[in-house]
Amino acid sequence: MSTETERHERGRLAPVVDWMENLSEAAYAYLLLIPAFGLLTLIAFYPMISTFWMSLLEDQTRGAETLGGFVGLENYIGILTGDARLARQFLDVQLTGSFPFFELGVGFFQQALFVTLSFAILNVIFTTLIGFGQALVLDKDFRGRRWVRVAVIIPWAVPIVIQGMIFYLMFQPTVGFGADVMNALGLFSATPLASSQDSFFILLIADVWKTSAFMALLILAGLQSVDRSLYDVAKVSGASTWQRFKLITFPLALPAVLVAMLFRTMDAMRVYGLIESTAGCTTVPSMTCMVIEGMFGGTRIYGTAAAVAFMTAAIIGVFISIYIVKFRGQEGGVY
């Protein structure tokens, strides 16, 4: 039956089909990769290279031309020493002679590098713990599991702009209760969205709320692939619940947890939309914020902005390689 339609189709396309049938495996592989890599080249690789070139050019804040001459790594050095003309500093640390040997130029939560790194690290720690907890709950068999699962996953399906708005409204003193409650507890100031430190923690809560679900989903997938009979064996040999968790659940779920952490780290390091829709980039500057401010903030520091974009990618790359090294030590990693 299928051969008949095959023949029918072959009528006009015969030369193309024959040509494809006769390609070697490698040539056929490259042929099928053309659409994917064509798109990636146009949308990702070409702009990346072009942005990299921009990062090596001087900022030109006046005149018709937007970029000046070639300055090599000067933009990168400017960013790292706190001399760049960014609205908020990327990194502003002076080395001093006495303990603790360095001094912050501006507040910790006003330096993009520290904000982004602490955001990513705290975010990954909390989402992993909460996501693991949620996954353990969802892995059990109980009545209504389907709906509990839906409820836990839903925050992850919320558009970033809505996620930002919920928490913006909650901590907006004229609308929500969050500002009053936290102020009464003495944790936040009266207008938390105007303070860098308070806003940082609001963003952290907002993102943990949304992305724990993603963690839970990936870890749950890992837990579900654990062979159930292992638990029966453990039970018969008298292992306690904690031992079962420590010796079976945890090691077998670890690869899934690491993959989930890897994706979460990459995402958290690029945080932008959430900040833009809650506290704003001036209050909590992340690395991506710096790029956007530099490009659209009206200061026309395109070279510096491009350099920040590349430094962000480089820092993400460092974190990824840590994970990849960790993967190597694990059995059953994905790649």
């Binding site: 056929y28 609308v175 929500g176 790359g317 990693g333």
Partner: protein, 318 residues
């Protein structure tokens, strides 16, 4: 055997403490049989997770129901009752048009990503050729960069007028067309789809593909008639993840159109549209957000089993 002794022990325990109160009985029961203590703890944890994940939605609903101008300290109940806001949002702005735009963009992107990523996933999952690992790393590399790193060159590219496109698009540039969102987002979400599909396609036994080939199917025919149908859960997972990702995306949705609904601005711009120059209609924003989340919630309800089983079967196992 072990269970047998356990039950007799518990029985003895129970007889012993018959005259004590129910709480004491429960405590001694949980000491002799820890499994019983875990059950209430389990429900406690479950309820905690349910409350923390669902409360923000409930609160948003309360904000939406509160009439404009009375938004002070909304906690558990709305200040007033104004369900009409769910109709108003469609009158103040053509919010349905924003939703429609988002749907079209997400659907087209998902379809496109699935076709292109299927070809790539097939190659990475089933064929052997030199340069496979470096090429896969190159795909992953895309996800390192903040979308901002692509933006300026892309913005220039999309604002350039191409004479070839003149007959299709009004002024020959891609800005303010759905393509300005579909093209970059396809590239953005393709790496994930490729990785999911690669693991799925690699698990189909070679024999099935060979059998189809012996029957006289072409190489591409074997992919589309054998491999893809057999990996349906994986394709569904990749599709749902891409669709939700595109619908929720912030960066390009925010910057690639001028925010006008007739210019294919997505739902994000619709919600921000209630933020006027002189006043912000918080209740309308809240109502619009709820309307915009609903389709995603329905998708999660329908597809959650698929997503979890899809990730279990392929994505994360070796």
């Amino acid at each position: 055997m072990a269970t047998e002794t356990e039950t007799t022990q518990t029985q003895a325990e129970r007889d012993q403490s018959d005259d004590s109160g129910p709480f004491q009985r429960w405590v001694s029961g949980s000491i002799s049989e820890p499994g019983r203590a875990y059950r209430p703890m389990f429900w406690l944890v479950t309820v905690f997770f349910l409350v923390t994940t669902l409360f923000p939605f409930y609160w948003l609903f309360m904000v939406a129901l509160t009439p404009e101008g009375q938004l002070q300290n909304v906690v558990f109940t709305p200040n007033g009752f104004n369900p009409g806001v769910f109709i108003e949002i469609f009158q103040i702005l053509p919010f349905h048009r924003y939703m429609f735009n988002s749907f079209v963009i997400a659907t087209v992107t998902t379809a496109f990503v699935l076709v292109v990523a299927s070809l790539a996933g097939y190659v990475f999952g089933r064929l052997r050729f030199p340069g496979k690992n470096p090429l896969m790393l190159l795909v992953l590399l895309v996800s390192f960069f903040p979308p901002a790193a692509f933006f300026i060159p892309l913005n220039d590219l999309f604002n350039t007028n191409f004479d070839i496109l003149e007959p299709v698009l009004s002024n020959g540039s891609l800005y303010n067309t759905p393509y300005a969102l579909v093209i970059p987002m396809s590239a953005l979400f393709m790496p994930l789809a490729i990785f999911i599909l690669t693991t799925f396609y690699s698990q189909i036994p070679d024999g099935l593909e060979d059998a189809a080939r012996v029957e006289g199917t072409t190489r591409l025919g074997a992919l589309f008639r054998v491999i893809i149908p057999l990996s349906a859960p994986g394709v569904a997972t990749a599709g749902v993840l891409t669709f939700i990702g595109v619908y929720n995306e912030f960066f390009f949705s925010f910057l690639m159109t001028d925010g006008q609904p007739q210019n294919w601005a997505p739902v994000l711009q619709g919600i921000l549209g209630f933020q006027g120059q002189y006043q912000t209609l918080y209740n309308a924003m809240a109502a619009a957000s709820i309307v915009a989340v609903l389709p995603m919630a329905i998708l999660v309800v329908v597809a959650q089993e698929k997503i979890v089983s899809g990730l279990t079967a392929g994505g994360l196992k070796e």
